[in-house]
Amino acid sequence: MPQHVPAQVEGEAEGSAGPAPAPGQQAGAVPAKAPRRVPGALRPRTLLSRLPLLLAAVLWTVSLPHIGFRSMGEYGLLDRLPVTYYLSLLVLTAGFLAALRRAGTAPWWPALYCGALLMALKGVPAVLYDSERYPWASKHDAVIDHLLADGELRPGEGLSGNMSAYDQWPGFFTLNGGLVRAFGTDGATSYLNWAPVVLGLLMMPVLVLLYRTFTEDRRLVWSAVWIFQLANWVGQDYLAPQGLAFLLHLAVLTVVVRHFVRPGSAGRLRSRAYLDPAAAAVPPPTGTRQRAVGVMVLAPVLVAVNAVHQLTPVMLCVTLLALCLTRRYRNLGLLAVAGLIMLAWDLTMGRPLFTETLGTLRDSLGDLTRNSRAGYAGELTGAGPELAGRANILMVLGLAALAGTALLLRRRLVHSALPLLLASLAPVPLFVVNDYGGEMLFRVYLFALPGAAFFAAAALVPAAGGTDALRAPPAVRRICAVALPVALVALLAGFMPSYYGKERMNYTPPAETALVTRAIDSAPEGSLILATTGSFPKALHRYDQLEHWFFAEQELPENVEMLRDPAGYLVARLPAGATAYVILTRTQDIYSAGEGLLPPGGFTRLTTDLVASPLFDVVERTEYGVVLRHDSP
């Protein structure tokens, strides 16, 4: 069994385990002058743990009715959140830092604070919004509706806009189909805003387990979890296959690093004399037969990852390949099984999109500039989106700087946690392969995040135990005592614009949803739905019966040309005999302006021109948008 020696934690002796014996005094002996306490009275340190949580909960709850999400301006939610909300986050941070000092003996408190942070950061839309947050979530809701209506999977149907891909990797949607039916709700609408909170809660123990495999310092574990949450602004935890697939990916990675250590490979990584005082010894090794059984245990999870998402199995395979670079985790059998399962899925269920992607690889391979860009084509425009964009870059740089500091200063910890570093770096080469619809940058960041958060925390939480030679010098510990709270507040300050700076694109008023639903419900089967972008609520409602053309999702010069004569541009490109509905809504306006798809004022000009054009008839017009119809001869 590996040695289980929790690192000495500051203040640990005064935790729930009771006072530490004085030097020279035997453990368990009664101290000479034990302080008298009233039974049941709270100790100051216990109060310091509990009070901030309570205060933050009160401040957060009080702030809710004052959050003006319906009247968001160019800064999204940022200037609609009251001071009490921001105070609640600061109080939570202070409470977490206090709880961290006793993390070794009272681990529930940092855990509670991490759960509270998750709820405080991502629970606001879940509690307040009266509609689906984020148009892409509503797209996934449409896929669930489609599956439930059909009752079968049609991976080869060839629906417009590659929508059949959702039947080719259907696991997330079939699961939600099961939940919708078992909950007895009309669709996923009633619960989809809670996805970030639920996925975050399910992910937290997996992260803790992963981090505890590499460190015994609970302060480091919880700091890493906290940093992970603050750095997880990338928005991949909404109701989408990626969120679930990432959870499964992390679980596989965690099982591998805990259970797939090859015999005779640990060497000095089990020697306390060599290890960083915070590091955990390498888990016990396992024989070939045991690891073969382990592969069988993991097989359902590996198949599920493939059933859920097309990109995550690739990330998983490159991660397992990177782990094979270490002698500790050279499990070629597991890599082969993971690769074969992926190939089997891609060549059967996922064959149409897989072959299409292979066909385009020749163009995308090696095009680093294009593959690593964010979004479709445009530049972020407007105060809120620009601030969000700058905050994103600063967050990435800040996290990289912190993790880089740990790589330089805590080399022994890096040596023992090398698999985590490799797992974080493994997805980066995927920039060479494909742009994943302008999303590759965000996905690589997401998959690198668990390791990056761990090493960033390692830079901020110095080793407290161990021998004098290995322990961090007092000066470093003093610097870190200041740097940790400063870094956590800075990351918090970066999270808010990164996550909520573009929130006006994500909140869609129910009246807009109703307008779109009415328009699409009235469209005859086979009609063509036109919109500037697919980023509006219910964009893909009835997608299996309609065709779609999101005509502004292209390079800006093309759109400038389109704006010269929008009606002529669109009509010239419509197939003969088509019935087309143009749906232009408020959320499209905000999205196309914020993402720079259209020049300033472009959306208004487009709307005015189309409404005035004799080629289009206005079907319905409200303050949330306009629906037009054109019948091609």
Binding site: H4, G171, T174, G177, P283, P285
Partner: protein, 155 residues
Amino acid sequence: MRHVRIRSTPDQEGSPVSQNRQPFPTRQTWTRTALALSGWAALAATALPGGAPLRWIPVLLFVCLGPGLALLYPRPAPLRPGARLEAAALAAPLGLSLAVLTATALFLAESFSGTAFLVVLAVLTTLAAVLPGLPLPAATRGAAERPRASPGERR
């Protein structure tokens, strides 16, 4: 016959002797029974009106945690450090994987329904609750610390 007493670790549950010599102590039996019945309780909850909290909460808890916990419980003794955290952390990924595969298989077989989804998961959970916990490699017998590698083997 010599009575071998296995030393407990801080993470171990209950009496080490009872865990190793009696396969079904009372607490374990109760836990296994609760896990075995959890799916059927979730199925019974679907008789309530759609969207009612007393319906969706047990269903959500069961789908997320029931099958995974049933698969992982009980962990083989003596427990490794973090074994209970491991069961708690991996329950959801394992359980959700099973749920994904179940729902997808039902769709492929064109026999999907909410009841079929829950019944299959409940049957799997009941079976898993009766069987021993999944043999994760390093948690099984023989995965104890090996003698330290010789200097020539170090890296």
